[in-house]
Symmetry: C3
Subunit: 205 residues, 3 copies
């Protein structure tokens, strides 16, 4: 189940990378490279930090999903732009999956709680972050302030669920995905924002 969702996540992120590359007017090879980095960058850093073999290096399916997702993005670009809301949900599911896989892998190698939650956030966000650096922008995660909170929240809940012995239950996964979807939707609808560092500093001076 998780493996299947992982492939879907890679597929969706590859589409998202290709659409971003098209907006920056890149050619098709540049598009596939950005799709590749967006989809597999987070997992790569996660495995480097864990000092284990990079997961996608041994997986024909993962690499094929990037190619498939990128091609899908090229072919149905105008169609996908109209489906923004549907795509937002898929993108969010992808982020949720990557968070959970990061948390699971961190637990499997017996790291302590805070590191495990970081790993979840890194798995979910590093691909998009690298994409933005390569396209010479300040990464989205530093501009759209609320962006990383749901990953931290849902990673923590999954970790808590594991301590309580619910990790093997599939509904745990769906709860985490649901939290991320609801949080992101509310954040957009109600324009949630985190306080700036400067504001908090002012209260103390």
């Amino acid at each position: 189940m998780l493996t299947l969702l992982d492939h879907i996540g890679v597929f969706v992120f590859a589409i998202s990378g290709m659409l971003t590359a098209a907006d920056r007017n890149l050619d098709i090879l540049g598009g596939y490279i950005i799709a590749f980095i967006t989809a597999l960058g987070g997992g790569t850093l996660r495995d480097l930090l864990l000092n284990v073999d990079i997961a996608w290096m041994g997986s024909v399916v993962q690499v094929s999903m990037v190619v498939a997702g990128g091609t899908f993005g090229i072919l149905f670009r105008s169609f996908l732009k109209k489906l923004r809301r549907t795509f937002f949900i898929f993108d969010t599911i992808g982020l949720a999956i990557f968070t959970i896989i990061g948390v699971q892998k961190g637990m499997a190698y017996e790291h302590f709680g805070l590191t495990v939650i970081f790993l979840g956030m890194i798995s979910a966000t590093f691909g998009g972050l690298t994409r933005d650096v390569l396209c010479n922008e300040i990464p989205l995660i530093f501009r759209k302030e609320i962006y990383a909170i749901p990953f931290l929240t849902s990673g923590s809940i999954y970790l808590l669920g594991d301590y309580l012995g619910y990790a093997s239950h599939l509904w745990m996964l769906w709860v985490c995905i649901l939290i991320i979807i609801l949080f992101r939707t509310f954040a957009v609808v109600f324009s949630w924002e985190l306080p700036l560092i400067r504001e908090i500093s002012k209260w103390n001076s």
Copy 2:
């Protein structure tokens, strides 16, 4: 033979990094750092992805070649600028060598075809890509569209040659180098370009 060519590749890339740094008006230490990253960045990422020891960490010669190349670049800068065509050929030989070494190393660790070709491309291009990110530009590989195609082509041919049992033959190496040199030359002479993502998307809408 390959080891010798590898050292030449590092030497040439270090020169190229130093010349770029001089164009950005950096001082000599900044120049050596950029030379270092340009020459050894690709091999570093390759070895990180393969989860093996970083090759240059154990090689006095490799590190010395960077210092030698950088110094050569400083001393003969105006001379090298006049020799642009000769330098273009050396640079291309360097890229070809790095591609082949990446492909070989990927095969040695028994990864499957597509990953091995990626490794070849990463070995050849990641150094220049990091250099461009550090100098705050959109990497050349995303602007000069045709840039990565010959690495993919020649990596594939080398892989095919290996399946056919020709990998141990030295002429295989020269065929791959020749392909990359011819391709790059033709690409410049005839202004070859890859289609933009947007153009292909339009055909389908």
Copy 3:
């Protein structure tokens, strides 16, 4: 002793990262991420290059020091700005510690001299370099020219001290720290600068 100083280094760098993030008008989460990267980025690359487990992944204290340093930076921001000189000394001590730890770890894995000195410099500077790339600037190390010289110097001296058998002596550490502090202070006071690549090239043409 070195472990204690390491924690102080992480704490100081986390403050420095948070203050930089505040200047770029980021929100608190962005601030903690930048603090994290500034404090632990250098050690991460050092351990990746050595192909060993990432040190902070197994250390609750290290990660806690980042959170503590970041929070300290938020709460006492206006106070810290007035204490610029004191902070400069702490920052320099942090850089010196990271250099020595990098050199020590490189020696422990039996790498040769030049690589070991590079490892020291990478440990000290890579965190700040990544911070600058993420904030979309040309890294400080390439603009403030003299920046990396004291790390190379003090790393070399530590290495020399080790060959002479003084590595276990605590005063070796303080000598290296003192060199870096004095060098940085003099560099600021007398506006020391490295020659540009272009200038040296001109002498030869």
